[in-house]
Symmetry: C2
Subunit: 181 residues, 2 copies
């Protein structure tokens, strides 16, 4: 059988930013039976591409933040003093995931954990000054991506699209409406 790893000169195992597309262009040439009409496959890949676009844009602008870190950072920004459990609910991430994302954001001085006054099990979460300084930039980068991804969709198409996504979420019995009390 083939070997275990060696090398050559130009392996483009991972597309970078703009070249990233090459690989995708290359091999997609046969015909799927199961996949070609699979909404799930298309849904998953579209979401993945959007995430990748965000990741690359951040990196391209010189920021190390990731899409998930961006989500958590924004959730903290919009609810300063929130605890990790509630943050998990808001971001639809589980608590270990939130813990680790916060570890990174804290190490990068974008957020701070402060002890909960009443309940010593909890942290209250806040943006640092650096977090506040950077979040606007991050959000403008994301806005650009949103324009690129969704800019040519009509209001109606966007509305229908989001409605369908919500319906699918409901079908899967997951909460997605981001407010309540």
């Amino acid at each position: 059988m083939p070997r275990k790893t060696e090398q050559s000169s130009t392996d483009f195992t991972h597309p970078t930013l703009d070249e990233g597309i090459e690989m995708l262009e290359k091999a997609s040439r046969l015909t799927f039976r199961i996949f070609e009409n699979s909404a799930g496959f298309l849904l998953n890949n579209t979401a993945g591409r959007l995430r990748l676009e965000m990741l690359r844009s951040f990196k391209f602008r010189g920021y190390t933040i990731t899409p998930d870190q961006w989500v958590v950072l924004n959730a903290v920004a919009e609810h300063e003093g929130i605890c990790q459990r509630d943050l998990a609910g808001k971001t639809l991430k589980d608590r270990p995931t939130v813990t680790r994302i916060l570890d990174i954001l804290e190490a990068n001085r974008l957020i701070a954990r402060r002890p909960g006054t009443d309940d010593r099990r909890m942290f209250k979460l806040y943006l640092t000054d650096e977090g506040k300084k950077n979040i606007e930039t991050f959000n403008s980068i994301v806005s650009e991506i949103d324009r690129k991804a969704f800019g040519n969709l009509s209001e109606q198409e966007m509305s229908r699209f989001k409605k369908t996504l919500s319906k699918i979420m409901d079908n899967l019995e997951a909460r997605h409406t981001l407010d309540e009390s």
Copy 2:
């Protein structure tokens, strides 16, 4: 600050199968500004929920296969003798990812790598008998999930939904049409 890990009796850090929803239900009570109207956030979470539904269904039925392994397995099934590079293109995964997923599928005896006759760098990929035996079961599980997720969408709604997803993919310059030559 809070400590570094200890315990109690009932931590439900991760929702299991059916209870999984609880956490989501719990904390989503404030109001997002950035997220509440974000198609990207909704898109990403919906795709994630669908993946989770698959993962749990497989596990619930006693199978260890994951959604991504399922995708790769099906791609092999539909293109026996395909090489890893082309498989990466078909599944829209990068080559290291495909390598590692195949490692797992091979260890679980669902697929086999055979040396490429002409080019000794390449493997040709095939289902094993066990792979063939199980794939129908896997696919029927996925069909059930598709019915659950999309079953109450009309033909027109599904068609519009997929069209919009394709448009977004195009906007992001990624290939998603799974055939060509």
